[in-house]
């Protein structure tokens, strides 16, 4: 393993005061292979029985396409919404003191801790047309539960902690003097935020965004109760996989899985590249 690590490290190892590069890299590669790559390769091999045309056939099915579009679209919008409001929540929690701050802080983790089915049922109950929140929107002609909007609500709910928890430590560590320097150079509050604070927290914000997005794409339990699961309208891709499994269409289910896997990987890779760019001042 260390031999592998050494040969791998040949081109890009930089001398470092911290020892153990070869050993830790070897361990990380082996660990990821067993925990992540092995099950995934089984998933990728499964639809091979379908052949290329069979594989494309599964994909071109309009029901599958609609489900994929909903899963990725809603996950993306939910992650954007969470990035925005999560930033505000984290900001308030770090910057201001108010009564019951600890309790509010603990509340942020709840979507994490709740069994997803419980979350899904409660969300469905309150957002249903006769529920607390749903009944407020009904007169406006807006239905939330059992529509794509309901899917979005559930995904926003489960994604929030990722953004808040990624940002909090970074906001905490921001140097107060740097902000003061900006202010004394004549920057307005908004300019200080946009030009000084935001670039400093951008990598963490992107991390939170990527985590919230990834979780939302794969989310199942909390969504299916509120979604209504109407084919072509409010049916998410993970549910479609389950349906195919129940019909013993293992290859079809795996085909959808592979597509989700590839798309998620590409998107996360893209986020990673943006993140790298946002950290460009740290390296060299």
């Amino acid at each position: 393993m260390t031999a592998l690590a050494t040969s791998l490290s040949g081109g890009f190892k930089r001398p470092s005061v911290l020892p153990g590069f070869g050993l830790t890299l070897g361990f990380a590669v082996a660990y990821l292979s067993i925990i992540v790559l092995l099950p995934l390769s089984a998933l990728v091999l499964r639809p091979a029985t379908l052949g290329i045309s069979g594989f494309l056939g599964v994909l071109m099915d309009s029901r599958v396409l609609a489900a994929l579009r909903l899963s990725f679209g809603a996950a993306f919008i939910a992650a954007v919404v969470n990035a925005f409001f999560g930033l505000i929540v984290a900001w308030v929690l770090v910057r201001y003191d108010f009564p019951f701050k600890r309790i509010v802080d603990a509340l942020v983790d709840l979507p994490f801790a709740l069994p997803t089915a419980v979350a899904g049922i409660s969300l469905a109950t309150i957002y249903a047309p006769n529920g607390w929140v749903g009944s407020l929107f009904k007169p406006l002609g807006i239905e939330i539960a059992f529509t794509p909007l309901g899917v979005l609500v559930a995904l926003i709910f489960i994604g929030l902690p990722f953004v808040v928890r990624s940002l909090q430590p970074v906001l905490q560590d921001l140097d107060k003097e740097v902000e003061e320097a900006a202010v004394s150079l004549g920057a307005s509050r908004w300019q200080t935020f946009r030009l000084v604070i935001l670039p400093a927290i951008l990598p963490a914000l992107l991390t939170g965004f990527a985590l919230a997005f990834a979780r939302a794409v794969g989310e199942y339990g909390s969504v299916i109760f509120i979604a209504g699961n109407m084919p072509l309208v409010s049916e998410i891709a993970p549910l479609l996989i389950v349906i195919k499994l129940e019909q013993f269409d293992y290859a079809g289910a795996a085909a959808i899985g592979v597509i989700m896997l590839a798309a998620s990987f590409l998107i996360l890779l893209l986020i990673n590249l943006v993140q790298r760019w946002s950290r460009r001042h740290e390296e060299h």
């Binding site: 003097e177 003061e180 320097a181 004394s184 030009l195 670039p199 001042h281």
Partner: protein, 354 residues
């Protein structure tokens, strides 16, 4: 720009950090704020910059009250002790920041900004490093970026909080001379914080010595060094030996020695302390008249021989300096008994008897 601070008081959660500070600096003056840690130097500077607001007292810039002005409106350049550079911006972007955030109607066109940034970088001798990030610079270079950034807004007042604190002795010396020239060329009014007395004495037009939230004395380096107003100032500027004494009608009695103390003609038999600088202590033969003391340690390295002595009377440790090659040098050896005399002391009565 003239600055006048009048009775500035500031407390943090009941703890008084400034207790009635009066200070003024006239146009072109370079004033040092000197004082031990926690004496309120940074707090005062931050109040001048508008980063903190006084509980009471008045602050005038050119005679106008600036109490209601925020930090951005005061046209003050502030150099932070730890630079506070914008890490994600290049050196040039850091320097141009103050110009780029100006309101649209006052913002110079990009070409003008670029030109000014280049001039500033040349001024602080960093003209080739405009594209680097702060993490790629040395401490001294970062310091100069912070300075260039503060100068970019063409401030009338420059405030520097321990500008050389984190630098090694040699770079410190170079930078401070250079800063003094810059101050003169640009006709700034500058205040800088330091707790290095040598730096203050060398650099400043006037020194304000602070202690416990107050200014103990303010004056030219020569004034504060030669005529310290309080015991604190005497002890803080340069090494000093403390000797208990009695002060009576312009004379101070230190042990068996009677020395002139012309500052206190009015006192009658008051207790106090006499201070004597190490180079004003004269070491004599054991049989001579004076305070008896035993030599403890001798340090030969340095511009003069440093001798540590213990007074026989009370065991107090004193420090003396003897020029290399002087006759007194013959007298000293470890554990040897000597006598001490002095010609120049400065006596201060104890607070209670004053």
């Amino acid at each position: 720009m003239t600055i006048t601070a009048d009775g500035i008081y500031k407390s943090f959660n009941g703890f008084p950090a400034l207790r009635g500070v009066n200070l003024s600096a006239s146009r072109g003056e370079f004033v040092a704020l000197l004082g031990p840690s926690g004496s309120g130097k940074t707090t005062l500077l931050r109040i001048l910059a508008g980063l903190e607001f006084a509980d009471s007292g008045r602050l005038l810039f050119n005679g106008r009250d600036v109490a209601s002005q925020g930090a951005g409106e005061r046209n003050v350049g502030f150099v932070f002790q730890h630079y506070a550079l914008f890490k994600h911006m290049t050196v040039a972007e850091n320097v141009s920041f103050g110009l780029r955030v100006k309101p649209r109607d006052k913002r110079p066109p990009k070409a003008v900004i670029d030109k000014q940034v280049n001039e500033l970088l040349r001024l602080v001798q960093l003209d080739r490093l405009g594209d680097r990030y702060p993490s790629q610079l040395s401490g001294g270079q970062r310091q100069r970026v912070a300075l260039a950034r503060a100068l970019a807004i063409q401030p009338a007042v420059l405030l520097l909080d321990e500008p050389f604190g984190a630098l090694d002795a040699k770079v410190r010396k170079e930078l401070r001379r250079w800063l003094r020239r810059l101050h003169d060329d640009m006709q700034l009014t500058s205040l800088f914080v330091t707790h290095d007395q040598e730096e203050a004495l060398e650099l400043a037009d006037r020194i304000a010595v602070m202690s416990d939230g107050r200014i103990e004395q303010i004056g030219t380096p020569a004034e504060v060094y030669q005529r310290p107003a309080t015991a604190f100032v005497y002890e803080f500027l340069g090494n000093a030996n403390r000797l208990p004494c009695r002060i009576d009608r312009g004379r101070a009695m230190v042990g068996s020695l009677v020395l002139p103390a012309p500052e206190h003609p009015e006192l009658r038999d008051a207790t106090g302390v006499a201070f004597v600088r190490p180079h004003d202590l004269i070491i004599g033969d054991a049989r001579a008249e004076g305070l008896e003391a035993r030599v403890r340690q001798i340090f030969v390295a340095g511009p003069a021989i440093r001798v540590e002595l213990a007074l026989l009377a009370n065991g107090e440790m004193l420090e003396a300096e003897v020029p290399h090659g002087s006759p007194a040098g013959e007298l000293i050896a470890p554990d040897k008994l000597v006598t001490l005399t002095m010609t120049k002391i400065r006596a201060f009565p104890d607070a209670a008897t004053a």
